[in-house]
Symmetry: C2
DNA sequence: GTGAAAGCGCTAACAG
DNA sequence: CTGTTAGCGCTTTCAC
């Protein structure tokens, strides 16, 4: 592949002059500029950004680390960051952690070694702290999205899980539900803890007793164990509604319930966080608290750029979006309990 | 950030020795190795892959270019490539083209400038030829996924759109449908042409007349124009079923039909390519031909690695997966036509 | 306006 | 087993 010297030789100038016309800085006589441009075209010259990055100490690259890109919530975040990155002529490298801190660590190490300019991360959980500290040590700026990490004070963009959960719970109360179970994601994530908090607060505010057997911890990304649903429906009294941690858990809960011959929403109502975007337009099913995922991504990226560009910022910024409740078929009026 | 020389100095060896222990090649005495490791840890040394890439002429980086990562079909492809890349210690850079050839071109140029080792691309359309030729000129290997491009003979992984469409059409015939419309994606894509071909062949084989007014060209990724659906339902006779190009078009078609007070499947049956993965488990709605998207991604990546590694290959390889038909609620028996 | 020199951080090739 | 030399392709700095 031709390099800057080849171009320089053909244009009969020094490589410095070529560099100047590439970057459009410094003075170059109009005529020599033309010669250089001509030579570049003739040789099909493409500047090598590796070399440039090496000397400039800047790679124009961001990393986006998410639990699993297949969840439409994270997909949409990805699209938001990619669009914003693109606008600023940045590239983005994608990593899936499956909420595994070690996988996350590998990606963080990769970030260090390829000298990314910044990282947008949906942290795997509270143990991500160590990984994030590493970024800090090496002065690589990052923005947390969707989740906070105990002991980490950085820029964050997320939704209000407590509020969203309470609104969802109120919706269920209004439908007459009293026996409401919850399946959370891993409680090492702040969203799971917040949603559990919203759940307990909502119960308390409505004067409904908290029952430990109604609470199950699962995972936002891993397949839901059949046992979890089985235990829930075996409780006495059987819950007439389940708050599920997110769209994935919701989908699997519904599937497992139906496999066990419970209908949704007739026997059990389901509500959850985060939507299945496209299909919900056509065939609305799940009652959800949605969050502006695209904005999570684009805003986080914008904030990251401000840090990268060294714009003075007074302390960590925390952007919290309010979720929006969308009521659909998966939640219905509470009925007297019958076992199928 | 500390570099290899700092480590060398502290360990009292040359930087070459440090390089050897980093890369685990060449002979290094156990004792000096230990000293070097110790120094690396002490200094928090992280090798700079930019510098390494520059001299090795290899970046350990792939690019994945798709129309829109938000479509679960492409998302799943992305996850497949990311997983496979990771296994080989490669990173992947993501680009969305929105099926715009110029956006695609920008990404291809980016690929050249950062010297990616290979590209996995779902081409925007037939005009992608120019872009792909560029990659070839610069000897950057690539694999086409999902779509072929006229005049390009490279490795391809895709599904059999003709077959899938015919099977979907047969399903509709079996339900008694005779008046079946089609909404394709852009006909610059091979999948759209194949699906249209499958449609016409299926009609012919069943001795059903082809009607030009039943054929509409739309887009796989852009919002569907209300007008398209309106024109279709205004035909005489009105179609009782619509084959839609993909999941996105299907979702929008259903939405627009319902807005115009047609019910699905009672008034109009809908079938399409590609699924909405998770939610379909819980609330099966769309009758679809699904394709193994994850394998598209992982297999294409594997093939790419074979080329990158210089494993001798006799000519371009073409992997064609058979789609699987999943029959669900969106398609039902044909009924006498009534206008709502 | 333009160029020469030095160096970003690393490794290939050879020498010992 | 270890080190020296040269250079990957670019930009920064300074000189003219």
């Amino acid at each position: 592949m031709t390099n800057i010297h080849d171009v320089a030789k053909l244009a009969q100038v020094s490589s410095m002059t070529v560099s100047r016309v590439i970057n459009g800085n410094g003075y170059v006589k109009e005529q020599t500029k033309k010669r250089v441009l001509q030579a570049m075209k003739e040789l099909n010259y493409v500047p090598n950004s590796l070399a440039r990055s090496l000397v400039r100490q800047k790679t124009q690259t961001l990393a986006l680390i998410v639990p699993d890109i297949r969840n439409p919530f994270f997909t949409t975040i990805a699209r938001g960051t990619e669009d914003m990155a693109r606008k600023q002529n940045y590239r983005v490298i994608l990593g899936n952690t499956d909420e595994n801190v070690n996988k996350e660590l590998e990606y963080i190490e990769m970030c260090l070694s390829i000298r990314v300019d910044g990282v947008i991360v949906v942290p795997a959980g509270n143990e991500s702290k160590r990984n994030l500290k590493m970024l800090s040590e090496f002065k690589i700026p990052y923005v947390l999205v969707d989740r906070e990490v105990a002991g980490i004070h950085s820029d964050v963009v997320r939704g209000d899980s407590v509020l969203g959960t309470k609104q969802l719970m109120d919706h269920l109360f209004n439908l007459g539900h009293q026996n409401i179970a919850i399946i959370t994601g891993s409680l090492t994530t702040s969203t799971s803890r917040d949603r559990l908090l919203g759940y307990t607060q909502a119960l308390k505010e409505s004067g409904i007793e908290f029952r430990a057997e109604y609470v199950k911890e699962a995972s936002y990304t891993k397949p839901l164990n059949n046992q979890v649903v089985h235990e829930l429906v075996s409780c006495t009294p059987r819950p007439t509604a389940i708050f599920t941690a997110n769209n994935f858990v919701a989908a699997q809960t519904v599937k497992l319930l139906r496999q066990q011959n419970f209908s949704v929403p007739e026997d059990v109502s389901i509500v959850s966080f985060d939507d299945f975007d496209q299909i919900s337009l056509a065939e609305p099913f799940l009652t959800v608290a949605t969050q502006p995922a695209y904005n999570f991504g684009s805003l986080a990226t914008q904030m990251l750029f401000e840090v990268i560009d060294g714009i003075p910022i007074s302390g960590p910024r925390k952007i919290i979006f309010q979720p929006e409740i969308i009521i659909r078929r998966s939640s219905g009026a509470a009925r007297p309990i019958s076992t199928p």
